[in-house]
C-alpha cells in the first residue's frame, strides 16, 4: 500500500487550451469535414437540378422554332383569260410562276422597294410556286378574276435564316440557297410581305420526304401513338389487373406462384430492346402481322408495360385493409365476390394511377419500335379509318423523332426538338392526371 498517486497526465494539461469554449485542432478538423461532406451532398442535389434545368432549357430553346413558320403573303389575281392561256401553253407552271413573280415585283414596287430576282431564286425560297397556284385555281375555278391572298410557306433554310440558325457569313452558295436570296428575304421582310406565323401544319401534318424539312409534321405519328396506346390500354389493363388479383388474393404458396413472381420481377428489368426482338421474332417473323403497324407496336409495348402495371396494381390491392375482405366474407360473400365487389373498387384509383404511369412510359419508349419497322417508313398520311388505324403502317411519336434526328439535314433537328416538346406535353398531361387522380381519390386507412 502506498500513498503515491498516479502522476497527473501531463499531456492533457497544456495551459489555456482545454477550454470547452474553444475548438481544438481535432474538433475543427472534424467540423470542417462535416461541412465539406454536407457541401458534397448539396452539390450533388444541385447538379441533378442543374442537369434538369439544362435539359429543359435546351429542349425549349431548340424546340420552339418548329412551331413557327415563315410565310410569304402575296395578293394575286388571275383572269379567266390568263388562266386559259396558261393552260394552253407547254410549260404551264412556268407561266403561273411568271405571273406570280410579276405580282410580287408589283407589290414590292408599290411599297417603294426595288428588287430584281429570277424564277430560280423564287424556287429556292418558296419551292414550286407555279404548281401550287395552278392546283389552287384548278380546284377553285370560281376564284378566277377575284384577288386572292396566297400564303406560301418558305423553305426551311429561309426559316433558319430568320431565326438565326443559318448565318449569312457562313452561308455557302448552293442550289438550296444563295447569298443573294437573303437580300431578297431582307427586302421582303422590310415590305412586310414575309412574316412568321404559328406552324399548324407541324401539329397536323405527316412526315415529308428527306428533302423537305419544312413540310414535316408530327400529327400522323400522334395518331399512330394513339392507336398504339389504345391497344396497350385495352390489353394491359384487364390482363394486368387479373394477374395481380390472382397473385395477391388467390394464389397459393407453391412453385407455380413463385415462378410467376420471379418472371414478373425479371421482366421488369429486361432491356426494352429485347422486347423489340421478341416482337420482331414472334409477331412479324412468326405470325406475319404487318410491319410498322400500331397493332404490333401496341402488343410489344403491352408485354413491356405489364410488369409495371402488375407491380403497381398489387401495391394498391395490398393497401386495402383485410377488414374489408373479412366484413364482406362475414356477410356471406364468396371470396370472388369480396374481391370484385369490395376490394377492387377501393383499389381502383391506385390501379388507374399505375396504369396511366405505365402508359406514359410506353408512350415514350422508342427502342422496340425501331425493330418492328417503325422507322424505315415515312408516315405521310392519316390512316383510312378506325380499323385501318391498327394495321396500316404508321409511325409513332418517339419513332418519328428518331427518324428526324437520324436524317442528315440539320433542318430536321428543329422538327425533332419540336416533336419532343409535343411528346413531353403528352407525358406531362398524363402524369398530372395520374397525380390528380391519386390526390383526389387516395384513401388513407
Amino acid at each position: 500500500m502506498t500513498d503515491a498517486t498516479a502522476p497527473l497526465p501531463s499531456s492533457s494539461h497544456r495551459a489555456g487550451s482545454s477550454s470547452l469554449m474553444e475548438y481544438d485542432a481535432g474538433t475543427r478538423r472534424r467540423n470542417n469535414a462535416e461541412r465539406r461532406f454536407r457541401a458534397y451532398g448539396l452539390a450533388a442535389v444541385a447538379f441533378g437540378m442543374f442537369f434538369l434545368a439544362v435539359l429543359a432549357v435546351s429542349i425549349i430553346r431548340s424546340g420552339t422554332p418548329a412551331f413557327t413558320r415563315t410565310v410569304v403573303q402575296v395578293d394575286f389575281a388571275m383572269t379567266q383569260q390568263q388562266f386559259d392561256e396558261a393552260e394552253k401553253s407547254l410549260l404551264k407552271t412556268k407561266v403561273y410562276s411568271g405571273l406570280f413573280i410579276s405580282a410580287l415585283t408589283a407589290e414590292l414596287q408599290e411599297r417603294g422597294l426595288d428588287s430584281t430576282f429570277d424564277e430560280a431564286a423564287i424556287e429556292r425560297l418558296l419551292g414550286k410556286v407555279g404548281g401550287t397556284i395552278r392546283e389552287y385555281y384548278k380546284a377553285n375555278p370560281a376564284k378566277l378574276g377575284e384577288p386572292v391572298s396566297f400564303s406560301l410557306a418558305t423553305s426551311s433554310r429561309v426559316d433558319g435564316y430568320l431565326n438565326g440558325r443559318v448565318k449569312r457569313d457562313t452561308l455557302q452558295d448552293s442550289r438550296f440557297l444563295m447569298a443573294s436570296d437573303l437580300d431578297l428575304v431582307d427586302r421582303l421582310e422590310e415590305a412586310g410581305i414575309i412574316h412568321a406565323e404559328f406552324n399548324w401544319p407541324f401539329l397536323t401534318g405527316g412526315d415529308s420526304g428527306v428533302d423537305n424539312p419544312g413540310g414535316a409534321g408530327i400529327g400522323v405519328s400522334v395518331v399512330g401513338s394513339f392507336f398504339m396506346m389504345l391497344v396497350v390500354l385495352v390489353l394491359s389493363l384487364p390482363i394486368g389487373v387479373a394477374a395481380s388479383i390472382y397473385l395477391e388474393e388467390f394464389a397459393p404458396q407453391n412453385w407455380f406462384t413463385d415462378l410467376i413472381e420471379i418472371n414478373i420481377s425479371n421482366l421488369a428489368a429486361v432491356p426494352s430492346i429485347v422486347f423489340g426482338i421478341l416482337g420482331l421474332a414472334v409477331f412479324i417473323q412468326f405470325m406475319h402481322l404487318p410491319q410498322s403497324a400500331p397493332l404490333v407496336g401496341g402488343l410489344v409495348l403491352t408485354l413491356m408495360t405489364l410488369p409495371t402495371i402488375i407491380i403497381s396494381t398489387r401495391a394498391s390491392l395490398k393497401s386495402v385493409p383485410p377488414s374489408i375482405r373479412d366484413a364482406a366474407l362475414g356477410v356471406g360473400a364468396s371470396k370472388m365476390q369480396a374481391v370484385f365487389h369490395h376490394v377492387l373498387p377501393l383499389a381502383m384509383p391506385g390501379i388507374l394511377t399505375g396504369t396511366i404511369i405505365g402508359l406514359a412510359q410506353a408512350l415514350g419508349e422508342t427502342a422496340p419500335l425501331l425493330l418492328i419497322g417503325m422507322v424505315g417508313f415515312v408516315a405521310r398520311g392519316y390512316p383510312g379509318g378506325f380499323l385501318e388505324g391498327f394495321v396500316e403502317p404508321n409511325s409513332a411519336m418517339p419513332a418519328q423523332i428518331y427518324t428526324w434526328a437520324a436524317r442528315a439535314d440539320a433542318a430536321f433537328y428543329d422538327k425533332a426538338w419540336g416533336g419532343i416538346i409535343v411528346l413531353l406535353l403528352f407525358l406531362l398531361t398524363m402524369n398530372i392526371v395520374a397525380i390528380i387522380l391519386r390526390r383526389r381519390f387516395e384513401r388513407r386507412w
Binding site: 472534424r30 462535416e34 461532406f37 454536407r38 458534397y40 451532398g41 448539396l42 452539390a43 450533388a44 442535389v45 441533378g48 437540378m49 442537369f51 434538369l52 435539359l55 429542349i59 431548340s62 390482363i239 394486368g240 387479373a242 394477374a243 388479383i245 390472382y246 394464389a251 410467376i260 418472371n263 414478373i264 425479371n266 421482366l267 428489368a269 429486361v270 432491356p271 426494352s272 430492346i273 429485347v274 426482338i277 421478341l278 420482331l280 421474332a281 414472334v282 405470325m287 364468396s334 370472388m336 406514359a360 408512350l363 415514350g364 419508349e365 422508342t366 427502342a367 425501331l370 425493330l371 419497322g373 394495321v391 418517339p398 423523332i401 428518331y402 434526328a405 426538338w417 419532343i420 413531353l424
Partner: protein, 490 residues
C-alpha cells in the same frame, strides 16, 4: 379485318347467351329469385363464359398453328434446286409470301381477276408485270415454282381462315346452347362461374411466364441458326466487328468483343457520373435536407427518370456532343474527332441514371433504424461520421444492389447510344473516340437492308441473347446481394 369482326360476333353471341341464360334460369324458377341457387346474373355469366372463352381459345391456337402448317405445306412445293441452304430457303419463302400478298392485293384492287390469280399455268412473266403495274412490291422475276407456291399459300390461308371462322362460330354457339341447357334453378352457377373466372385469372398471370418463354425461344432459335452460319468461337472471341454490306455472308467479321468493350466503357462512364451524384444526393436528401426541400428536390430528381430515352438521345447528339467537341475537339484540346463519342453517351446516360441510384439508395438509407444513428451521436460522432461509419455500412448491400441495377439499365440502354455513341466498333481506351455498343448494333443490324436469314441480321439475336444473359445476371446478382447481406433489425 375479318378477325376483328369475328371477335365482335363472338362477343355478341356471348351477350345474347347472357340474356337467354338468365331468362331460362328465371323461367325454370318460375320467376321467383329465391328458388335459384345463385343470383340470376351468374346464370347469364355461365352462358357468356361458355360461349366466349373456348371460342377465343380456339381462335388463338388456330392463329398460332396455321402459319406453321401453311409454311411447312408450301415449302414442300419449292424444289431443292431453288433453295439449297436454309438461308436461301428462307429467302424463297419470303418471296412466296410477298407474291401471295401481291396477288391478294391485286385481286382486291381489281388489277387482276380471280381466275388469273388462281391459274397454276399462268405465265409468270405476265403475272410479274401485272403485279408491278398494280403497284405491288415484287423484288424479282417470279418463277413458276414460286408462283405455284404462292397460289397454294394463298389457297391454304383462305381455306384456313374460312375453317377458323366456321369453327370458332360453331364452338361459340355450342358453348352457348350447352350453358343454356345447364341453367336449371338448382344449377350451382356461381361456383361454376367462379371456377371459370379463377382459371382466367391464372391464365392472365401466366402471361408473364409466356413472355419470358417467348423471349428465350425467339432468342435461342435464331441464335442457334446464327451459329450454324457463323462459328461461335469467332463470335465470342473475334476482335473485329465488320459486317459486310452486301448481306450475303462470307466476308463479314462479327466479333462481339469490341461491342462488349464499348458497352462496358460507356456504362462505366455513366456509372462514374451517376453513382457519386446519386449517392450524395440520396445522403443529403435523407439525412440533411429539411422536409420542405426534400418534398421539392426528390420529385424533381425523379423527373429525370421519367423523361423518355429518345429525349436524352437527342440531347446527347445535338447539345452535349457539340459542347464537348468545342472543348476537346480540334479547336480545343484536339482529343475528339466528332460529337459522338463514349464520353457524350456516357455523360448523358449518367444523368439519366442519377434518379435510379438516388431513389433506391434513399429508400435503403431511410430503412436504417434511427436508434443506430442516435447511438453513434451519443458516442460523440458528428453527423458525417455517423453516416460514413454507421449508416452507409448498414445500407451497403442495398446500395450495391442499386448500383448493379443501374449498371444493368446502362448496359441495356439503347436510344442514347444509338444517337450519341457513334457507329464504329473499336477497341480503344480514349473516351473521346466513337465506339458502339451491343444495343446499338442490334438496332443497326435489324433495321438495315440485310435479309432476315443472313448472318448479318441473325447476329442481332446472338447479341440480344448476350444482352439478355448479361442483364439477367446483373439483376439476379443484385437480388442475391440484397437478400444475403441485408441487415435484419427486427
Amino acid at each position: 379485318m375479318p378477325i376483328f369482326w369475328l371477335i365482335l360476333i363472338v362477343l355478341a353471341i356471348a351477350v345474347v347467351g347472357y340474356i337467354l341464360g338468365r331468362a331460362r334460369a328465371m323461367r325454370d324458377a318460375g320467376g321467383d329469385i329465391r328458388k335459384l341457387h345463385s343470383l340470376p346474373s351468374y346464370y347469364g355469366a355461365n352462358v357468356a363464359l361458355k360461349a366466349a372463352v373456348p371460342a377465343f381459345l380456339l381462335m388463338i391456337v388456330w392463329l398460332l398453328v396455321q402459319p406453321i402448317y401453311v409454311t411447312s405445306a408450301v415449302s414442300g412445293l419449292i424444289p431443292d434446286g431453288e433453295g439449297t441452304s436454309r438461308a436461301e430457303h428462307g429467302l424463297v419463302m419470303a418471296e412466296v409470301r410477298r407474291t401471295a400478298d401481291g396477288l391478294k392485293n391485286a385481286v382486291a384492287g381489281g388489277a387482276m381477276s380471280e381466275t388469273v390469280a388462281r391459274d397454276p399455268n399462268a405465265d409468270p412473266d405476265e403475272v410479274t408485270q401485272r403485279l408491278k403495274d398494280a403497284g405491288q412490291i415484287i423484288t424479282s422475276q417470279i418463277t413458276t415454282p414460286v408462283l405455284n407456291a404462292a397460289q397454294r399459300y394463298r389457297d391454304l390461308n383462305a381455306t384456313g381462315g374460312l375453317l377458323m371462322t366456321a369453327g370458332v362460330l360453331i364452338l361459340s354457339v355450342i358453348g352457348m346452347l350447352w350453358g343454356i341447357r345447364e341453367n336449371r334453378a338448382d344449377f350451382r352457377a356461381r361456383n361454376v362461374v367462379e371456377r371459370g373466372v379463377r382459371a382466367l385469372l391464372i391464365g392472365a398471370a401466366s402471361i408473364a411466364i409466356l413472355t419470358t418463354v417467348g423471349i428465350v425461344l425467339s432468342l435461342v432459335f435464331n441464335t442457334i441458326e446464327f451459329f450454324r452460319l457463323y462459328p461461335a468461337a469467332d463470335f465470342f472471341f473475334g476482335l473485329n466487328w465488320a459486317p459486310s454490306f452486301s448481306g450475303r455472308g462470307g466476308s463479314s467479321e462479327l466479333g462481339v468483343v469490341p461491342l462488349l468493350w464499348g458497352t462496358f466503357y460507356i456504362s462505366l462512364v455513366a456509372l462514374l457520373v451517376a453513382v457519386p451524384i446519386g449517392l450524395f444526393a440520396a445522403i443529403y436528401l435523407s439525412e440533411y435536407a429539411s422536409p420542405r426541400m426534400r418534398a421539392i428536390a426528390k420529385p424533381m430528381l425523379e423527373v429525370l427518370a421519367g423523361i423518355p430515352t429518345i429525349v436524352y438521345g437527342l440531347f446527347a447528339l445535338l447539345t452535349v456532343g457539340p459542347l464537348l467537341l468545342s472543348v476537346f475537339g480540334k479547336d480545343g484540346l484536339g482529343w475528339m474527332q466528332a460529337g459522338t463519342a463514349v464520353m457524350t453517351a456516357g455523360l448523358v446516360m449518367g444523368i439519366m441514371l442519377i434518379p435510379f441510384v438516388s431513389s433506391l439508395s434513399d429508400d435503403i438509407i431511410n430503412a436504417v433504424p434511427q436508434a443506430m444513428r442516435d447511438g453513434s451521436y451519443g458516442l460523440g460522432a458528428t453527423q458525417s461520421e455517423t453516416i460514413k461509419q454507421v449508416v452507409l455500412p448498414a445500407a451497403l448491400p442495398g446500395i450495391v444492389g442499386a448500383i448493379l441495377l443501374a449498371a444493368s439499365r446502362a448496359i441495356g440502354e439503347t436510344m442514347i447510344v444509338v444517337l450519341g455513341a457513334g457507329a464504329a466498333a473499336r477497341l480503344s481506351l480514349n473516351p473521346f473516340e466513337a465506339m458502339t455498343t451491343v444495343t446499338a448494333k442490334i438496332v443497326s443490324q435489324l433495321t438495315g437492308d440485310a435479309d432476315f436469314a443472313s448472318p448479318e441480321a441473325l447476329v442481332a439475336f446472338a447479341l440480344g441473347m448476350t444482352l439478355f444473359v448479361l442483364t439477367l445476371g446483373l439483376n439476379v446478382l443484385a437480388l442475391y446481394i440484397v437478400r444475403k447481406y441485408r441487415e435484419q433489425y427486427e
